[in-house]
Amino acid sequence: MSITLTDVTRSFGSSKAVDGLTATIPTGCFFTVLGPSGCGKSTLLRMIAGLEPLDTGQIALDRRTVAGPGLHLPPEARGVGVVFQSYALWPHMDVLDNVGFPIEAAGQSRSAARTEAAKHLQAVDLSRFATRRIADLSGGQRQRVALARCLAAQARIVLMDEPLANLDPHLRAAMEEELTTFHARAGTTTLFITHDQREAMALSDMVAVMRAGRFEQVATPQDLHDRPVNAFVAGFIGRGVVLEAEVKSVAPGTAMVELTPELQIEVQAERAVIGPAQVLLRPSDLCVHAEGRAGRVLNVAYRGDHWEARVQIDGISKPLLLSVSQRAVPGDTIPIRILGGWVLKQE
């Protein structure tokens, strides 16, 4: 089932939480909305689920309008599954009752619902815990119960509201894998909300970067990393430095830019025009090279398998980020070569 948003707007007081959003999420896609807290991503999810009304605009699920002018289908009639941040499992019911609840709500008897729920529990490998109380489950098991409940609801659209945010870091990686498997096996359309760019990159088919109620860019994780449209997206995803520069000449897919009067480099570009521009330089665009320009090391941070150094090259307005495989010392001078970069969308 696809999700179609048309000019969706929602304000709280004078601030617009979601501001004229238009987008289509195709059937079967794992679609992530990535943004800082307060950007409106949770509001968007709640509007799709029906938990929040729209001010204007329209939402259609699989081409059936569920919210629009004069129409607000309540959540119970939308047939979407939601995995809440807290998982929202009912503490007064056991695991089977929790999973079977959507079946009960669809009109089955409680015992029929429990029988049916047992099958879905098996799918998430939790059969042993069927009669446990929620309080006796670990964080990871709770997530699986929440997923089983979505399965039981036979939801073709699953909305996930930062389900990994409350988990311990070491559990998160394992749960990420489970989410991917779940999505692939259930064949649902998944809308995933997160503020963690690493999670978004790892899980998604498509990522929308959201700021102040709008999508800044919708792209595959790789495009988002390599070809961000603006400084916000570039800064939100991956590491790198955005410099003011001048496009001197353009060719299909590339452009010559001048960083300083004596430093011109060829970078990746799309629809660049001659004139002022912003250029993104990621650490992978720089390397240590005997014939490079002298860079003075300002400080160094260890990042696990490499050191990340902030280096200042004379004539360039900001220090650049550089990965080095050996420890550098602040004050050192390193010869640096700029291999490439990316021209952000010009105003």
Partner: protein
């Protein structure tokens, strides 16, 4: 994406959802709750206001007429004086207890709190009887100790001082609870910062804790004042013989003397005292709000400042005091219930269970009173729990604003003196009901109605606290799972807050079982309540019988408190007062 704008291959949602099915859910329940709210609050309170202010000869004229009556003026003054002084005393004692138990490393806090709370759980008229019997000339206890005043002398508690002292005693728990709650919300860091900065205990108390607690003290004072203003049992039993008549007592005297003919007078007096009470409640609410602004922080582990060597002495002193003000009067009452006639010393030869047999088996009136009070209290508890559940569920939904009106009315009805409520119910329901042509006056129904109106706030509070503690996502998860309003109400809301609703019900049962203020003027032959019978026996001079009945009612009260204590384990903090 222009082709997506409502092109014909986008189908609209099924029409049923916008129609009847939705009306049958929340709007239906809201209509039900509003109808009950109208009958319980708007109708009676509106009737009082209309009779006092708008009937011919009413309004300012009636007010000035009432004002020109010396007895009304004096009674109003007595009410204000006793309520103010008692509240001041209660604030001093309750505040000290709250600070001692809330801030230091005293042992047995729960037990101490439970003991302090019995002061309010035992109803005023029973407390008054117990103290009358403990300190009077024919006091069995004082005779045993050889300390009894000379026979024939006036009882030391009759009159102004006695009324104020016992009112204060009753209201100590209110202030105590307010201070404890405020201390629990006091961020620990503030106290620890003072310690780190070198403040000793005295400086810390004077410069940090007391200023932060000032609004709590004021709020506690206002609560105690309102409770004292509406008290009936204490001023009726101690004030009448001491010629110290308060406004509620005067209302009761007028009604018992002349019957419903004086309703207009009563309405005017009711409006006067209700106005005073509402102003005090308004002050209290403002103070509480300021409190919640000043002290932001989740409830925390209580502070435990070490008392050092003084600890044992303080503990001893507190328990001695509890024994004196809680246990001793009850023992005195028990002693009175066990002697053949009032004034006979209690010895192994004289002890008898006759009076218990009399009140439980022989006397039809007392047996009926036990049955009436038990039945009415149970029904009130159940009714309040159901209403609170419904209102609580509505308060979380899109129709919250309308439901909030009901909680506001419930708070008002709880704040105004009980006698105002009962006068209101008489005025509103003495005329035969429209369709069925029967007057509710003289039936159990009018008492039950007054209980529901006066005590709904008691049951709403725990349910409100419990609903607030529930993650809203639990509700939303049920919605997206396809559950409609009634299924959510039945399977999610109700089980989640059931323990709180049950404890609210028990609190209401306790209150209704013990009350005398409401039924004092609503009872008729056949609808006597426990409170009215105890009260009538005591004021009629049947001390042994009233003592026996009081003992039984106190035992039932303690049993109910223990039930609540047991329920407490399954409740969010803040519902069971002494936990």
């Amino acid at each position: 994406m222009a082709d997506l704008h409502l092109s014909e291959n986008i189908t609209a949602a099924p029409a049923g959802w916008s129609g009847l099915r939705r009306l049958a859910g929340e709007p239906f329940l809201l209509a039900l709750v509003l109808a009950v709210g109208f009958a319980l609050f708007v109708l009676p309170l509106g009737a009082v206001a209309r009779l006092a202010l708008m009937s011919p000869g009413g309004g300012l004229e009636a007010l000035s007429e009432a004002w020109s009556s010396r007895s009304v003026r004096r009674a109003l003054w007595h009410s204000l004086e006793s309520a103010t002084l008692a509240a001041a005393l209660a604030t001093l004692v309750g505040g000290t207890l709250g600070l001692l138990i809330g801030l230091t490393d005293l042992r047995g806090r729960v037990a101490l709190s439970f003991a302090i709370l019995t002061l309010i759980m035992i109803p005023p008229h029973v407390t008054a009887i117990a103290w009358i019997q403990m300190l009077g000339p024919s006091s069995v206890l004082l005779q045993v100790l050889g300390l009894a005043p000379a026979p024939g002398s006036t009882h030391p508690l009759y009159g102004r001082e006695g009324v104020i002292a016992l009112l204060a005693l009753q209201q100590v728990p209110l202030v105590y609870l307010t201070i404890r709650a405020a201390l629990r919300a006091l961020p620990r860091d503030l106290v620890e910062a003072a310690q780190v900065n070198g403040a000793g205990p005295v400086r810390m108390m004077r410069r940090v804790i007391l200023p932060l607690m000032a609004p709590a003290f004021l709020a506690g004072f206002a609560l105690a004042f309102v409770a004292g203003l509406g008290n009936f049992g204490v001023p009726a039993l101690l004030g009448i013989p001491g010629r110290y008549v308060t406004l509620p007592v005067l209302m009761w005297q007028r009604l018992s003397a002349s019957g419903p003919a004086v309703l207009e007078d009563l309405a005017v007096m009711a409006c006067m005292i209700a106005a005073v009470a509402l102003v005090a409640v308004w002050v209290q609410m403002r103070m509480s709000r300021r409190l919640s602004v000043a002290l932001i922080g989740p409830p925390q582990q209580t502070l435990q400042l070490p008392l050092g060597k003084a600890r044992l002495w303080v503990e001893g002193g507190l328990w001695f005091m509890m024994a004196l003000v809680v246990l001793a009067p009850l023992v005195a009452m028990l002693a009175t219930a066990l002697v053949p006639t009032y004034g006979v010393p209690l010895t192994l030869e004289t002890v008898t269970l006759r009076h218990f047999h009399e009140v439980m088996v022989t006397q039809a009136v007392t047996a009926r009173a036990f049955a009436n009070s038990a039945g009415l209290a149970l029904m009130a508890g159940l009714g309040v729990a159901c209403l609170a559940l419904a209102t609580g569920a509505l308060l979380r939904g899109p129709l919250a604003t309308a439901a909030r009106g009901v909680t506001l009315l419930a708070d008002i009805a709880y704040a105004v003196p009980g006698l105002v409520i009962s006068v209101a119910f008489i005025i509103a329901f003495i005329k035969p009901l429209p369709v069925i042509g029967i007057s509710l006056y003289g039936t159990h129904a009018i008492i039950l109605g007054a209980y529901l109106a006066a005590f709904l706030a008691v049951g709403l509070k725990p349910v409100g606290v419990a609903f607030a503690a529930v993650d809203p996502a639990l509700q939303e998860a049920a919605r997206v799972s396809g559950a409609g309003f009634w299924r959510r109400f039945r399977r999610i809301d109700t089980p989640l807050v059931a323990p709180a609703a049950a404890s609210g019900a028990v609190l209401v049962i306790l209150t209704a079982w013990n009350e005398v203020t409401l039924s004092a003027i609503l009872w008729t032959r056949g609808t006597e309540t426990l409170g009215t019978v105890i009260f009538n026996y005591e004021s009629g001079g049947y001390s042994t019988l009233s003592a026996a009945m009081s003992v039984l009612s106190v035992l039932a009260t303690l049993a109910l408190m223990l039930v609540l204590h047991g329920l407490g384990r399954r409740l969010p903090p803040g519902i069971i007062p002494w936990r």
